[in-house]
């Protein structure tokens, strides 16, 4: 018989991998979704810089615009856009569902809760685009 400290079971406690978020696609998607926050912070700071440039004078703003046109900046901003879209889609599929469930107090098809958000998103994007481009 193997030696064994009777009645003192040594349970095996597996350690979680430091790279657990690579274990499956859902976890990775979660990690990416959370990482969008770094780009949100980045873009907010960028907007503050833009405001500061605007508030100084036209030359400073032109310099800001030149900086933004640098290919590296365009690539970073393209990545930021991708992250914002990932955020938007995951957010609209989840949060309105929780709120709808809270309000209606029964399970509802996801389409009912998420569809209005996509409509609002679409509308807001068009209106903002008109303001930003100076059409309105």
């Amino acid at each position: 018989m193997p030696q064994y400290t009777q009645y003192q079971p040594k349970e095996h406690r597996p350690k979680m991998s430091a790279y657990w978020y690579l274990d499956n696609w859902h976890y990775l998607r979660y990690a990416l979704r959370e990482s969008s926050s770094f780009f949100v912070a980045y873009f907010c700071v960028l907007t503050l810089v833009q405001l500061a440039a605007l508030g100084t004078n036209a030359t400073r703003y032109a310099r800001f615009e030149a900086f933004m046109a640098h290919p590296a900046m365009i690539i970073v901003n393209a990545i930021a856009l991708a992250f914002f879209l990932l955020h938007a889609i995951t957010w609209f599929n989840l949060v309105p569902r929780v709120m709808m469930r809270q309000i209606l107090a029964r399970p509802t098809p996801d389409i009912i809760s998420s569809a209005p958000n996509y409509l609002v998103w679409f509308g807001a994007t068009i209106i903002l685009a008109l303001f930003i481009t100076g059409v309105l």
């Binding site: 990482s35 912070a41 605007l54 703003y61 933004m68 046109a69 957010w91 930003i132």
Partner: protein, 118 residues
């Protein structure tokens, strides 16, 4: 985990939640124009004067204040959870929370100052 001490997390959570909607609804179009289409010259950017006039409009100031403030807190909250979960820095929770929400607060102060002086 004894009964009685309810967390004050709701305050940051509600800011995070508001920010989540604003990020989703509005940030994509911002980065699309200011970060991509204008700099790349694919859409003609409005002039300095036009842009200045736009942000000086009272409604635009209110909008930008709300957008940036909530987005800062949204980002702060998520950066904190990313550091706790993904980077597994749970033992530094207090420091991380201080840095993240503190950063968001600093961002808010700057936002107010810039919007008032622009």
């Amino acid at each position: 985990m004894s009964a009685g001490k309810r967390s004050n997390e709701p305050i940051v959570w509600i800011l995070f939640g508001m920010g989540g909607f604003l990020v989703a609804f509005f940030l994509p179009v911002h980065v699309l124009f200011y970060g991509l289409l204008f700099p790349a010259g694919m859409v003609h950017a409005p002039s300095y004067q036009q842009t200045l006039a736009l942000v000086r409009h009272p409604l635009a100031r209110v909008y930008l204040f709300a957008l940036l403030t909530f987005c800062f807190f949204h980002a702060a909250h998520r950066m904190r959870s990313t550091m706790l979960d993904v980077l597994n820095l749970r033992h530094l929770n207090t420091v991380i929370a201080f840095l993240c929400y503190g950063g968001a607060l600093v961002g808010t102060v700057f936002t107010v100052w810039l919007l008032m002086t622009v």
